[in-house]
Amino acid sequence: MALLEVENLQTHFRSPDGINRAVDGVNFHVNAGETVAIVGESGCGKSVTAMSILRLIPEPPGKIAGAIRFNGRDLLKLSDREMRDIRGNEISMIFQEPMTSLNPVLTVGRQIGETLRLHQGLSAQAAEARAVEMLKLVGIPEPQRRVREYPHQLSGGMRQRVMIAIALACNPKLLIADEPTTALDVTIQAQILDLMRDLKRTVGAAIVIITHDLGVVAEVAERVIVMYAGRKVEEAAVGPLFRSPRHPYTQGLLGSMPKLGSSLTGTETRLQEIPGLVPSLKRKLDGCVFASRCPHATDLCTKVAPALEEKAPGHIAACHYAIKDAVAA
């Protein structure tokens, strides 16, 4: 049994001019200790998926349906109290903006200790000792001093380390990281990604990383889920996904990114464009969600929605025309 199983997840929002079907029928699983990336552009539903797992969607106007089984228990059936026991304890989350996710009037130590005292009933001294240990774990120099500092005294990269320390304090089985490095500079991003790779070895939690950056995906993920317009359109292990993407959207995404070092290899070509815009999720979409922007689309695509099919072992995609075996370019 997988650690997390998401089945037919639908998260819809009511708005004055229609229902926004932000996530519409998403299935995936995460095994214990595995790193899965959910990648897609803004509005594809990747963040809403993450928030839905922790039930952080305000209801109303939102509503979540389907099943989210964590260790076999359906999180959507738990009471609010039971859910609070899971959040920050068995499943924890890191957000994009470390400044707004930390409480500016509490010391770093208090904020790490808070979750420990809440979930594990530690004493104040024990919590502080553990906080120092956590800060050391996430690579903050002089943890004894830093533990008494306030968030504004730390730099952006330090704050994100503190966020990770808080998230890992209770030894969660699953860590959800929503664009954890997007707000950071590239050299700081490199530090944080390095830390996450390290922690994965030492802590062993499963990680779901939500990102729009295919470079970050390639650096940290083992398996990748590509989302478009509220749906999963492709899923594969990281190698095959980048080497032979089956869905035209994934191909388009990879082709639209310039490659670092292109001037050295003489592979500078015009960037591939994905024409048009993401369709409105307030209308019911017939056929393939990507048909309106797909270079290969036919009448069939606009009429019949493709099912997710296994195109190669462990490689699934929702495209009628994606070839169906291991033969790749």
């Binding site: 639908q10 009511r14 509503k63 009628h320």
Partner: protein, 309 residues
């Protein structure tokens, strides 16, 4: 490298493709309400507040048609009658019909409220724009405004009224002076944040002169927060007017205003509470309605501001 060779349309037909199971909706459909009714449905506070304010305005305009007695006619013979079919809200200690006085009283409140809102907005907008754009004027003007703001508006209005004689016009001027600093502060803040907008930088780079920048890029974008602020000033001015009249420093007693009526009924509050009750009720409902309208406007015109306040 991404390659198109993993796409192969050969031999794929509607008959042999895997079809995704359609997903149903998990909430009832949203009924699309368009036009005027849709607007009201989405903005109940504008609808309710606006309707009450509109009714009050109509009531003030058509007061002669809605009343059955002269609001100033004295009749000592029928003093302090309880509310009845004959005297709907009763009569006061001089025998004047309270219902007629309350209906006519709406005129003063609304005229004062709207006039102060318009005047204070225009003056405040001018001062705010100047201090937002002229650095040396800024510190000077803002210190003066801070000084004025350190006096509660009601006391400032009372002090100003003490310098002159009671008339509706003077009441409007006094309350406007008391309200201007708040508007200036707001506009200055909005102007300073608008000046930082990239489109203003782009306009400078495009050779636009400063007066045109103010007129074309700054002013139109202050209208939304100004409109919202104007409604709150309107409500506050109506209250201040009533207080001034209540303590005898406002509208002359000859003109019925809600404050006057309450002032006159004050002595009889314990035995004849209705004389105070009805004007107070109308005042509260009107102020509430104007504030409701302001809240609604804030939410629709300026969603960012709604989050801040």
């Amino acid at each position: 490298m991404a390659s198109a060779s993993v796409i192969d349309p050969q031999g794929i037909t509607a008959a042999n493709v895997a079809v995704a199971a359609p997903m149903g909706d998990i909430m009832p459909p949203v009924k699309a309400r368009r036009g005027f009714w849709g607007f009201l449905y989405r903005n109940p506070s504008i609808a309710i507040g606006g309707t009450i304010v509109l009714l009050m305005v109509l009531m003030a305009i058509f007061a002669p048609l809605l009343t059955y007695a002269d609001p100033t006619a004295l009749a000592p013979a029928r003093r302090t009658r309880e509310p009845s079919a004959m005297y709907w809200f009763g009569t006061d200690m001089l025998g004047r019909d309270v219902y007629s006085r309350v209906i006519y009283g709406a005129r003063v409140s609304l005229i004062v409220g709207f006039s102060v809102a318009v005047l204070a907005s225009v003056i405040g907008l001018t001062i705010g724009l100047v201090s937002g754009f002229v650095r040396w004027a800024d510190s000077l003007v803002m210190r003066v405004m801070d000084g004025m703001m350190s006096i509660p508006p009601i006391l400032l209005a009372i002090a100003l009224m003490a310098l002159t004689r009671g008339s509706v016009q003077n009441v409007i001027i006094a309350i406007t002076i008391a309200e201007v600093p708040r508007v200036s502060r707001l506009v200055r803040g909005v102007v300073l944040s608008l000046r930082e907008q990239p489109y203003v930088d782009a306009a400078v780079a495009a050779g636009t002169r400063t007066p045109v920048i103010i007129w074309r890029h700054i002013l139109p974008n202050t209208i939304a927060p100004m409109t919202v602020q104007a409604t709150f000033i309107c409500a506050s001015a109506m209250i201040v007017e009533s207080i001034l009249s209540f303590i005898g420093a406002g509208t002359p007693p000859i003109i019925p205003s809600w404050g006057n009526i309450m002032a006159e009924g004050r002595a009889l509050w314990q035995v004849k509470p209705y004389i105070v009750f009805f004007p107070a009720l109308f005042l509260s409902v009107t102020v509430l309605a104007v504030n409701l309208l302001g809240d609604g406007l804030r939410d629709t015109l300026d969603p960012r501001m709604a989050k801040r306040i």
